[in-house]
Point group: C2
Chain length 605, copies 2
């Protein structure tokens, strides 16, 4: 923990800087320039100023006060880390606690100025701030990163080496992808398209990098017109190979940090024939948004790249199928190991997770984990965002259940799988919940539906067995998964809630999506079973084009926690069918002992 | 059939009238001023001019040509009825057939004028015409009903007597309803609300009438502000009682035909303090829409009355439950009768339907049928809009299946129920489909779901058993039902298709909704089983407020066509449970013979 004195000192320096810049309040969120799921050290300004190390939090500073907003996961930790810093904790979502907009509206004086670095604030949040503060005529100064000046040993801006994805792996050249994007642009009557979403950029230009933890992406922007395309990258990321590849694809390269000035110039230069520039307001940061709004003739729209990226091509799918098999072998071996080892040696959540990571590392195509392995025992598994740390985690007992949610980044795909494993005796209640979760997972996987359905039509298949028991889980049932990219990807999802005006994506052949219902009982236990499914076309007839899923994940579902008599005949048959496939596909890669165990673990029920 | 010479004569007169008015094209649709589901004789101008008697069609006339657009249900009939009239048939939805907008855009000359009576054209269609014709600078003249002048014996404008719903039946006074509407208006920051939807008007002012066939409504408009409310009715509809009732509720009465001028004056008079007038663009006609657009400060929004009307209050629900029981008794008696009578006497679709109507008529609260009874045998049941006519319908045989979809208007509720009845031997294939439909109906009825779900979340429960067989039906699974009002009511529905921007209604306690999956095999047979369900609250717990349905309809599902071994255990149990309830509730109202039969017809499977 950073010394509290140091924190107080840093806040004093910030206040001096604010005074010198004429800023009355300053806001420091937790994000990079692209609102990535993880932020690298360079972007941990909020942690540097406050000492609070949680993954979610926003700091607000004025001459007299400072406040930090974070969510329920971090209340205890934040209390500890903020003590004696003079920073007040705002417990988000708790009754009577104002959100940031309300707080600023209430506390700022008419005519004052709010400062923040517009590059680390999303356009959506920036617009909410504007709306809240307009009435009091509060000025917003978003052009300067005030923290930079008072952070002498700031970590370097992330700049990994750009790697070109070999064409044998991506199945489609950048030139072909650009043609598809331009077709969509013409449909939208857009003269240009500004792309700021990192995984879309990587997909389009067949590049990968390592600028965001777990996400194999590069800090980048893209600008595409009917005739030209250009990618903004850091000079330090470039290699000969990248330059050649981009040149072959007819793509220009410009400096990453020149994207803003480039756009301003483009707009001021008259913006060719006035055709609108398309950009995705959900993805762009506030500073970029201001260029669009203040200078350009622009139109907000969903990234045309998002859907194109989500529908995997046959090359990608064949690598995905093969890598999911290898990944499933590792998880299956892990289950065999942990169920025995827990009886023989001292295991912790952390050591078990590390063992699984080790099994994945042995796969030749392995590059990295796709997110931090969640290894959560009993009540810890009821916490959605629990992360075991080597120095702070539970020991495993030969009893109860261990939830393991994990995945890998491979040359050939990105995986995501969850199994909840009985380590010994399991109560009848846990078995009932485990069985209901398995029924839901299998029922969704077994769905037959006409083309045109979205995740909102299907979600009830996974949740129904829980809803029948007056149980619901607070998260979605499924999300898209990238190909050698981010483990969370849109636009498709499996969710149920209606939100006025929200766009839904039709499930297209070639999409892949997770299927992960769960039961989370606070302070008791958590259960989740997650497979990844591929969307396939079925029969086409006069009533429509029918669709279905096929499993990509082949890992046994723990029969030690299944109550076969509670499964409807159809899902019981689906479980047996699935387990036959698991044995058939996985057993060739196992040792004799493992194979014997797997035969039992996939026996007909 | 009207003499073809007469039709040609009428068209000549129209063309003269058009010339005199400076109109180059004139459009005659099939609608009343409120886009009601049925039109009364006064509004059958299209039939008068063309001789075509179908329920859907639009006539377009110019000096040289005339065309009639109708849909696939009516192609054969229209060919026959339009022959020798000089009117060309445009088969809607057929390949290469232009829609009306495209046709007019193509055929009209720049600067010409299109005429129509803006009161019988929806605002939505009028806006589409505007958009299509703007480029050619075609003027739209919507102020005159040209047909009126050349239609000497035109039937009278519908003007039934206004009846006040006794407060014991409506459960809520107009004053209370107005308070609720005004609360919603304040939420929408609306200064006034203009209401043009007839069933909403009847609900709000606790009135009923008979101006639209099957819909117990009065031609009317309403205008509500924070302090005043006024209903526009025809003088001829008024009785002392109505006047008194409105006065007690603090509602002014104005003449129905003065609604347009009133609005214009309101807007020209400065429109109090500039607060916007709310209106529902989906419901208002083009002439009214033009007043809003040309004179007013207005805002399109869903009728605040629609949702209030859809959520039935406890008084309404208790009448509904009781009237559905009586209605179910009639339908049950009908099934008993038809299954025997078909073996003993000559029956037709029409005579069977008439027998059922007769049984309903014996119920003391009966007022009318709620829509024309559909009685369709075998292949006729595969046609969604089939209507048997006394002089043109199929004879029933003691074999195959009869689909009967029917309902009543009662003092105490509006009903809607469908049963498909085995009249004798039924093939295995038909039984399989019948069973799948029953499973779907029962599965939806048995759903448990958290508050917040809409019909799009649940639809798959009813369709899933058919989707599993690569079968889909082309219509929704369910719609709301009025209370002593229209049999089709929103805003809730059970559907699956995603339409960008479409609003969905959350299922609220007190809503009632139909549950009517079906199988329709062209040229072979049609099967539908329809119950009406009431939405109820279940357990409230930390995962949410759980909801479920309860049946309002209690009519046996024909076991002669059920394959119990094909039913999943849960739905088989649900069928048995439902049938126990049917026997318990219905048998007390049956004769001895009927009762014996019902015991068998509801026996456990």
């Amino acid at each position: 923990m950073t010394d509290k004195k140091v924190i107080r000192q840093r806040l004093r320096m910030m206040r001096t800087a604010m005074r010198e810049s004429g800023l009355d309040y300053y806001l420091v969120p937790t994000a990079d320039f692209h609102n990535s799921e993880y932020v690298s050290d360079y972007f941990k300004a909020r942690e540097y100023l406050s000492g609070f190390t949680g993954s979610n939090g926003t700091l607000v500073i004025s001459a007299e006060e400072a406040g930090l907003w974070t969510d329920g996961r971090y209340f205890l930790q934040a209390e500890r880390e903020l003590a004696d810093t003079g920073i007040r904790l705002f417990r988000m979502q708790e009754e009577g606690v104002p959100d940031i907009c309300t707080f600023l509206k209430r506390n700022m004086w008419e005519g004052q100025t709010l400062g923040f670095d517009g590059r680390v604030v999303t356009a959506a949040f920036g617009k909410r701030l504007e709306a809240a503060l307009a009435e009091k005529k509060i000025r917003i100064a978003y052009e300067r990163d005030l923290v930079d000046a008072i952070w002498p040993d700031r970590p370097a801006f992330p700049c990994s080496r750009a790697e070109t994805v070999p064409e044998t792996y991506c199945g489609k050249s950048t030139a072909e992808k650009l043609a598809e994007v331009r077709k969509k642009m013409r449909e939208e009557k857009a003269g240009a398209f500004f792309l700021s979403r990192l995984d879309d950029l990587m997909w389009l230009f067949n590049l990968r990098g390592n600028d965001v933890r777990y996400n194999p992406v590069l800090m980048s922007y893209g600008f595409i017109t009917e005739t030209d395309a250009c990618v903004f990258l850091q000079a330090g990321a470039l290699q000969r190979e990248t330059l050649d590849g981009m040149q072959r694809a007819g793509v220009g390269i410009r400096d990453y940090f020149s994207a803003g000035p480039f756009l301003r110039e483009y707009f001021l230069g008259g913006q060719r024939r006035g055709a609108a520039v398309l950009y995705d307001c959900e993805q762009v940061n506030y500073a970029m948004f201001r260029i669009f709004r203040d200078y350009g003739n622009c139109r907000e729209a969903a990234n045309p790249t998002e859907l194109l990226k989500a529908v995997k091509n046959e090359t990608e799918l064949s690598y995905i199928r093969s890598i999911y098999l290898k990944d499933s072998v590792a998880v299956t071996k892990f289950i065999y190991w942990v169920k025995r080892a827990v009886k023989e040696e001292t295991l912790t959540e952390y050591s078990a997770g590390a063992y699984l990571d080790g099994l994945r590392r042995e796969i030749p195509e392995f590059l990295n984990v796709s997110f931090p392995t969640i290894s959560a025992y009993m009540e810890n598994a009821a916490m959605m965002h629990y992360e075991a740390r080597e120095d702070a985690c539970s020991a495993l007992e030969a009893d109860g259940m261990l939830l393991v949610d994990s995945g890998g980044q491979y040359l050939g795909g990105t995986t995501d799988v969850t199994r909840t494993i009985a380590l010994g005796a399991v109560s009848q209640g846990m078995k009932e919940h485990f069985t209901a979760v398995a029924v839901g997972m299998l029922r969704l996987a077994d769905a037959r539906f006409p083309y045109g359905c979205t995740g909102r039509n299907l979600d009830i298949l996974a949740r129904g067995p829980l809803w029948d028991r007056n149980i619901d889980y607070k998260c979605g049932t499924g999300h898209g998964v990238g190909y050698m990219l981010n483990v969370h990807e849109g636009p498709q999802s499996i969710r149920w809630r209606y939100r006025d005006g929200a766009r839904e994506a039709v499930l297209e052949e070639g999409m892949i999506v997770t299927d992960e219902p769960g039961v989370y009982l606070d302070g008791r236990y958590g259960i989740r079973t997650e497979n990844v499914l591929e969307v396939k076309k079925g029969l086409k007839c006069e009533d429509g084009q029918f669709m279905h899923f096929e499993h990509l994940t082949f890992v046994p579902i723990d029969l030690d926690a299944i109550l076969p008599e509670q499964m409807p005949p159809r899902e019981r048959e689906a479980l047996n069918r699935y387990h036959r496939a698991v044995y058939e596909k996985i057993s060739p890669y196992l040792t004799g002992e493992e194979k014997t165990w797997l035969a039992e673990a996939t026996a007909e029920v």
